[in-house]
Amino acid sequence: MKKFVNDPKNYVAEMLEGVALANPDRLRYVPDYHLIMRTDAPRDDKVSVVQGSGSGHEPAHVMVVGRGMLDAACPGDVFAAPPMDYVYETAKLLATPKGVLLLVNNYTGDRMAFDMGREMAEADGVRAEILTVNDDVAVQDSTYTVGRRGVAGNFFVIKAVGAAAEQGADLDEVLRIGRKVNDVTRTMGVALTACTPPAKGSPLFELGGDEIEFGVGIHGEPGRERRRIAAADALVDDLLEAVAGDLPYRSGDRVALMINGLGGTPVSELYILYRHAHRQLAGRGITVGRSYVGEYCTSLDMAGASLTLVRLDDEIDRLLDAPAEVAIRVF
């Protein structure tokens, strides 16, 4: 394994320490619960927005804590939902009179930890609601699974509920907005290589020299099918077919288009994907009103990308437009 890592057991803790050291004024790190929170949270006048999930998806979610985004992120170990205890303590720490919104990606472990953590916090008098994100269209047969996974589309849910909470919306309203954005958001990804979890020390799965995993999950879960690599444009066509055909997005729609890197793919390639996706959407009569190209929700060092569409309306546009500050920043 060739990684910048000390003891893999300290991977998450050391990363979180780094995030806190790089943002001393804005972020606080609570080592006992793997917690990164805003220094000004909780605030009585707003709903606290918290996201939990496994680690290994950075910048999601510990690096999108900040004004107009998350009040706190409570990550588990790499690819593992946080223990319910962390969720419970986080909910208590972030409790405000307006309540706590717990955002969770739709995976068995995360849902169980958050359900249990929320129940325990509620028993302590904390008002908390759970909002589940499930944007991944790769999962087709929901009867046999826990349903669609939450992947890069969660960025838009966070951005929108973060803005609404910042503007003082109450918990019901924040929940309504989150569900609304989740309902118009769809994603699918493709892996060119497997990722290497630090504690495992070797690639999570094997992909042949010209094989790709189409519809891959952000924990390296196999996707719809393993197939031969194709030209970038052809891959975009197939991703777009799966994603746009799902809601479906129709001629006349205005959308946000995100090309999200999975960790090992350089941003130059993401823009090559973006170019073709933008043009193909235009060809379908769908206008790209907002563009997002970069890393939002990764899978460690996996080479690959996902494509997300969000159907915009005035309300969503306004929320996505609202100012925000995050730990991961260019300047």
Binding site: A81, P83, Y107, G109, M112, A113
Partner: protein
Amino acid sequence: MTGNAVPGVELVVRSIAETAVANEKYFGDLDAVVGDGDLGYSLARGFEKLLEGWDGLDRGDAGTFLKRCGMVLASRIGGTSGPLWGTAFLRAGAAAGAAADLSGAQVVTMLRAAIEGIKARGQADVGDKTLLDALVPMTDRLEREFAAGAGAAAALRAAAATTREAADATRGMVAKRGRASYTGERSRGSVDAGAAAVAVIVERISETWQTRGATS
């Protein structure tokens, strides 16, 4: 498994914990086949935590002891396994109650309670290719052995063999729960990591019981 309840339970729990820690890599590799490879890490970290606080755990009675263990596991194991294993220990502890003495039948009752807890928590059942596909056949076998009058050591030996077979048999199943279920048909052909972990653990408990197994 008669005799002072806590020493027996302690021995079992300690075996589970040590096996989980010792098999971190093996369980992780099993989970990597169609899952995300963290099962070994999650269990090892949780049971390490349990062993760290081992001497301080309340040993008032078997039920209390198991519930304390369940609290530590549920709050320290991440992933899907945390809530599942934590629930199992909590439910087993609740079923044990304050009994000073655990009969074979009581042990079976505790295991049934643990299984119901896992089913409820995971919305899963036998045949979904999860650890239930090892735990349930194991419990059935134990029940039969005890009913036929077997001692704990013999019953465990028989149950360990059954659990191994049952875990191996998950190879032919398609996952319907948990992360492996996303792969659909592709999950066929490899054993379920959780079921295999249970088999390894039960084998270890059985071995330990043969040599250090107290009064029976």
